[in-house]
Subunit: 334 residues, 2 copies
Amino acid sequence: MRDVAHLAGVSHQTVSRVVNDHPSVRSETRARVLAAMRALDYQPNVAARTLATNRSQTVGLVTFDTTLFGPSFMVHAIERAAREAGYFVSIASARELNVPSVTEAIRRLREQAVEGIITLAPVAAAWTALGRSLLDVPAHVPIVGMGIDVHAMPEVPMVAVDNAAGAGLATRHLIALGHRTVHHVAGPPEWPEARERMAGWQAALEAAGLPVPRALPGDWSARSGYAAGRALAADPAVTAVFCGNDQMAIGVLRAMHEAGRAVPGAVSVVGFDDMPEAPYLQPPLTTVRQDFAELGRRSMHLLVTQIAAGVRQTGQHRSAPDLVVRESTSALAF
Amino acid sequence: MRDVAHLAGVSHQTVSRVVNDHPSVRSETRARVLAAMRALDYQPNVAARTLATNRSQTVGLVTFDTTLFGPSFMVHAIERAAREAGYFVSIASARELNVPSVTEAIRRLREQAVEGIITLAPVAAAWTALGRSLLDVPAHVPIVGMGIDVHAMPEVPMVAVDNAAGAGLATRHLIALGHRTVHHVAGPPEWPEARERMAGWQAALEAAGLPVPRALPGDWSARSGYAAGRALAADPAVTAVFCGNDQMAIGVLRAMHEAGRAVPGAVSVVGFDDMPEAPYLQPPLTTVRQDFAELGRRSMHLLVTQIAAGVRQTGQHRSAPDLVVRESTSALAF
DNA sequence: GGTCGATTTGTGCGCGCTCACTTCCGGGAT
DNA sequence: ATCCCGGAAGTGAGCGCGCACAAATCGACC
């Protein structure tokens, strides 16, 4: 910077003004400085700026399992949104789904002096289980919990798809097709998304006065969906299955096929997420679509607002999902 | 830090020594400092350290489309490897697949003073097309190009799966099953992976003295695989298809099914990647497995070596893929 | 021509840390 | 008793920048 100032024949402060688009610099001077910057291939030193301003222009992302379709897509959406908002993004993944791991990831991020944190990992359950919460992060650190459990931590701003509504959409769709009940392959209970989808499914069933079967446990993977699917396929009473995500639905589809139960002829299957492959599965999967890009933008927005305000705020945004009907569901054949 | 020093009754330098595990601190003193640090909830300021040492402890990741299975998995693998090596990771995604976007992403990373860069985006084609290369990044910035084209830029260290070998494995597997030739649904030619897989497929065919059909273009998506699949399904001469990745294979599987061509009865299909869902597709997909975790570790290793050496180095690592035979391939029925 | 106010530019300090160097202290060899 | 040496601790400078304030410059107006 000193060199640039020298070459342009101005003081370092003027260079600083040019770099930061300060208004009171004569355009002629500005041009001279810009030329000098270009000539010297000058690049501002972020560390120095961070030190001086106490602002890192970085937001942290706590992830857990980015091999899942949802989270991996969210990373992308958030990076985009962050860039547009003028922030860098630094990621820290939790090794496992427990308090120490998540705490450690957050610590790493805080150590980096991120200005705010967005968490994609399902922290609620683990944390509240120990009577702690994301609030252990000092209140001046803005945070947004994507898909966290708002009941467990109402103080933490949250952005999520309306999982219960989506599950309701899926379940009612199956009920409308004449199914006497709908079975459910659930995600891991540590994930609020999983619990909310299960609750939505259950509520829809109860509202229709239908029996609520026991949900089968899954871990979001196709493998677990397959295991659940085998159990379901063995029961001739099963005619409709709502899966907590598309990947598990893939497993269920496979299990049904192996058992000789046609989809949608004998059994209807619905997923959740609408991954890009969903239309090309066999059969094309009816599923609940979430708008990940929108969620990413929303969460960055919420974070930026907090950073600007300088304090943690509360606020929740739930985006409405859509049901995408394809060929894995059909009316119950009598 | 000053406060900690004060509380512990030592100088700031001693605190610094404790923080950095410097050996020459009496264990008694060290204990006192540690206690003070804990009491004050002291957290070192990375910006200040970075400014003083000129080392940011951060590596940058240039991504492009993390909704693809491979890249999304790699992000995860690299984050893990980086953490183990004591680095933070900051990500920057290229908006599009062209020189300005990738340059911009790299600029953002450099602006952040990352110590090294790993690129997951397929930069080679675009860059060399303009007679430029990753080397535009000053030579003192360590870089690793995952899956870049080594012919185009032999100077840049590279880590990748041996795509040609994998394609050969897949193709020879189909040839051994008696197929008279193997068709290919290729990824976008901008991706060296796509070109290498195509080259491997072609070479295997030629080595067996079989005709080389025209490859069908795809963009890695199931949608594009489906489009290619429809064309392939319409041609009764097609009995074996090798797809550039699993997602396109999903599309091909769907197209074959719609056209009433049984897989593997009438047509055999092979993918590439071995995504977690592959065993649960219909039919379970024969595919080429790559070890992403290993690739992530390798690339971090290569990067760390360069950082330690202080100069860009050359070096290439190709990991050998495996063929995983499942049920989407079978012997040609006469 | 002088004065005032607005605009533009410069000065010096400090952000929190590490580095190079100095100082201090105690123990063993001479 | 002297000297030296090595481990343990302290001192001060400076990394590159932005902030608060001071200084200079420029116009416009009386």
